[in-house]
């Protein structure tokens, strides 16, 4: 369906190796300071991401889910070192990028790319599609003008855009087509790892399917590794190999997809899954819907003990005083909760 043109698959990249983590994250913390008053004193911090550790295997798709404001996008951006990290180590393809700066970091940029949520905002309205897709090539390669144009053509073929669109401007396209432009830009440098920051959230359902299928096809052809950030649990179920569930800046559960959807460990995951709409009305009527009460606490002032203790339906005394530790439950399942045996 989608011609790949001349986009070459580097040797060995198509083979999945389940044992080699491509991305290693260790105790990632991202705090944003809050300044108040006349003297702009630092009065506190928003703990957007508070101590995450996870690995992403080569060739897999790690789904990252959670409700709005839980820090999903911050994780994605921090992973590419677009923010100055508060703490933590990030290793991508064997390079520790959390301490790199300037030119050294720039040289590693081709390895990791990003696809954005807002297709309108992520493309410069004053640049043609051709020059948007060529920007990574301008920055990292020394191709001649004709080579560059040929490469842009190949990339446009690969994402299913007609080549003569190269001279048009982003506002002339639909949301789905704009997302394809964004994907083509991300692919330009043959990256290994792509952070997909809610790439389908702003699209129509029919277009969502197209874009998701495109992402899957590209993964198969180019051996890409995705961190797929979304709040759409059905889409994650379709795409991801493993799923991480975030709540208030922390991962509460990380499990292989099927296990997580079959038998969630953490009460929050359980509540999230019970909220997924079912197409079958009979099934929907009988399901046991868990409705969480109250709001997410402020990340600048998280509750004592477990972050979820203010809303957890199964809350115990211990949850309000002691922070649960991140435990291994076997079969690649991890969770942080006092109540799981």
């Amino acid at each position: 369906m989608l011609p790949v043109g001349g986009t070459q698959i580097p040797e060995g990249r198509g083979i999945l190796d389940d044992n080699a983590p491509l991305v290693k994250v260790e105790n990632l913390k991202m705090y944003f300071p809050i300044y108040r008053g006349i003297l702009s004193r630092r009065v506190g911090e928003v703990k957007a991401v508070d101590g995450l550790s996870f690995d992403i295997m080569e060739g897999e798709t790690l789904g990252l889910v959670g409700e709005s404001g839980c820090g999903k996008s911050t994780v994605g951006r921090a992973l590419l070192h677009l923010y100055d990290l508060t703490n933590g180590a990030i290793e991508v393809n064997g390079h520790d990028i959390s301490t790199l700066e300037g030119e050294e970091l720039r040289e590693l940029r081709p390895e990791m790319q990003m696809i954005f949520q807002d297709t309108q905002a992520s493309l410069n309205p004053r640049m043609t599609v051709g020059s948007i897709i060529a920007e990574p090539l301008d920055e990292h390669t020394k191709l001649s003008k004709t080579d560059k144009r040929a490469k842009v053509g190949e990339l446009m073929d690969a994402v299913g855009l007609a080549r003569h669109f190269a001279d048009r401007y982003p506002h002339e396209f639909s949301g789905g087509q704009r997302q394809r432009i964004g994907i083509a830009r991300a692919l330009a440098l043959n990256p290994k790892f792509i952070v997909c920051d809610e790439p389908i959230a702003a699209l129509d359902v029919s277009i969502q399917a197209q874009v998701v299928n495109l992402l899957e096809d590209l993964q198969e052809q180019l051996g890409l590794t995705y961190l797929f950030i979304s709040h759409d649990l059905s889409m994650i179920r379709h795409l991801a190999t493993r799923v991480a569930v975030m709540y208030l800046g922390k991962i509460v559960e990380l499990s292989p997809r099927d296990a997580l959807y079959e038998a969630p460990l953490h009460p929050y995951t359980e509540a999230l899954l019970s909220a997924v709409p079912r197409p079958d009305t009979a099934q929907a009527a009988t399901r046991n819907r868990i409705i969480l009460k109250g709001d997410v606490p402020s990340p600048s002032n998280p509750p004592k003990g477990c972050n979820f203790c203010t809303r957890c339906p199964k809350v115990q005394d211990i949850c309000r005083s002691l922070e649960p530790v991140w435990r291994d439950f076997g079969d690649g399942r991890f969770a942080a909760c006092h109540l799981i045996d």
Partner: protein, 300 residues
């Protein structure tokens, strides 16, 4: 959906800009008027060969006649010749001073908006310039440097350089503030983040992504800047700090004529009209350019 044979015929940016510019009627009229004025003041004196300095006291304060198409002033100098000659200086001052203030203002605005560390110092500098009492400052500067510059470049070029740089150096602040505000908004947009994730260095992020997107306010302040510079030059000449009194500029003619307004109103009307037309046509040109440079408006 994919089409491998159809390669775009290579639209060029400036081709597109010109196509859009052509559809803006105001801009076309503005361009025509501006070119006409430019032609008149730079080539006119070679066709209408009357010396603007020639005194003929017997024909003072006359209305328009065949001998003097726009009449004469209180010393019998020909008004048309004066307006044509005066236009050269006024136009040159307007355009060059605008260019200087635009360059400084845009640079300060971009740097202050993009680099958080520079924001404080640069904006306080801008505030400092805004708070300076301009007139006393101009007096001091002109007193200090007029004679040196005159000695170096001759009386007219010297004073021209002085006036252009003074006007440029004291009128960039508003541009800087507007540009900074817009940069602050633009740099938070996702395409800037996308460029950073690609690894585009700051220098090129500014030139490739930020500057083109803040072009509209720059264009507007450019067109207003021309008008401002012409009028400031008039004010300086009026105070006797600008060009020598026998050297006509539009502002000088206007202020000289103001005393004789009841006797010969035409003396105020013509230079005034020239200034207004220039400013208006530049405004329309700026308007058309701004629209033509925005791809979202282009093609509508």
């Amino acid at each position: 959906m994919t089409d491998t044979t159809l390669e775009g015929k290579g639209r060029t940016l400036w081709g597109d800009v010109w196509d859009q510019y052509k559809t803006h009627k105001g801009a076309l009229v503005g361009t025509a008027v501006f070119l006409f004025i430019l032609f008149a003041v730079f080539l006119g004196p070679y066709i209408y060969k009357v010396d603007p300095q020639y005194l003929n006291i017997r024909v003072k304060n006359q209305g328009p006649s065949m001998a003097h198409l726009l009449g004469t002033d209180q010393l019998g100098r020909d008004m048309l010749a004066q307006v044509l000659h005066g236009g050269r200086v006024s136009m040159a001052v307007g355009v060059i001073a605008m260019a200087i203030s635009l360059l400084v203002g845009t640079m300060v605005g971009l740097l202050a908006g993009y680099f958080k560390k520079l924001d404080g110092p640069l904006m306080r500098l801008t505030d400092l310039f805004l708070a300076l009492p301009l007139l006393p400052l101009l007096l001091v500067i002109i007193m200090l440097f007029r004679d040196t510059l005159r000695g170096m470049f001759g009386p007219e070029t010297g004073i021209f350089i002085l006036i252009v740089s003074i006007i440029g150096a004291t009128s960039w602040m508003h541009t800087a503030r507007i540009v900074r505000g817009d940069v602050l908004a633009q740099k938070e947009r996702e395409f800037v983040l996308a460029a950073k994730s690609i690894g585009t260095p700051d220098r090129r992020v500014i030139l490739r992504h930020i500057l083109p997107n803040v072009l509209s306010p720059i264009m507007v302040s450019a067109t207003l800047g021309v008008a401002n510079a012409i009028i400031t030059e008039s004010a300086l000449s009026f105070l006797g700090l600008g060009f020598p009194s026998d050297f006509p500029t539009w502002g000088r003619l206007l202020f000289d004529g103001a005393n004789y307004m009841t006797l010969t109103p035409a003396r105020v009307v013509w230079p005034g009209l020239a200034i207004s037309l220039t400013v208006l046509s530049v405004n329309f040109i700026g308007d058309g350019l701004r629209d033509a440079l925005d791809p979202r408006i282009r093609g509508r």
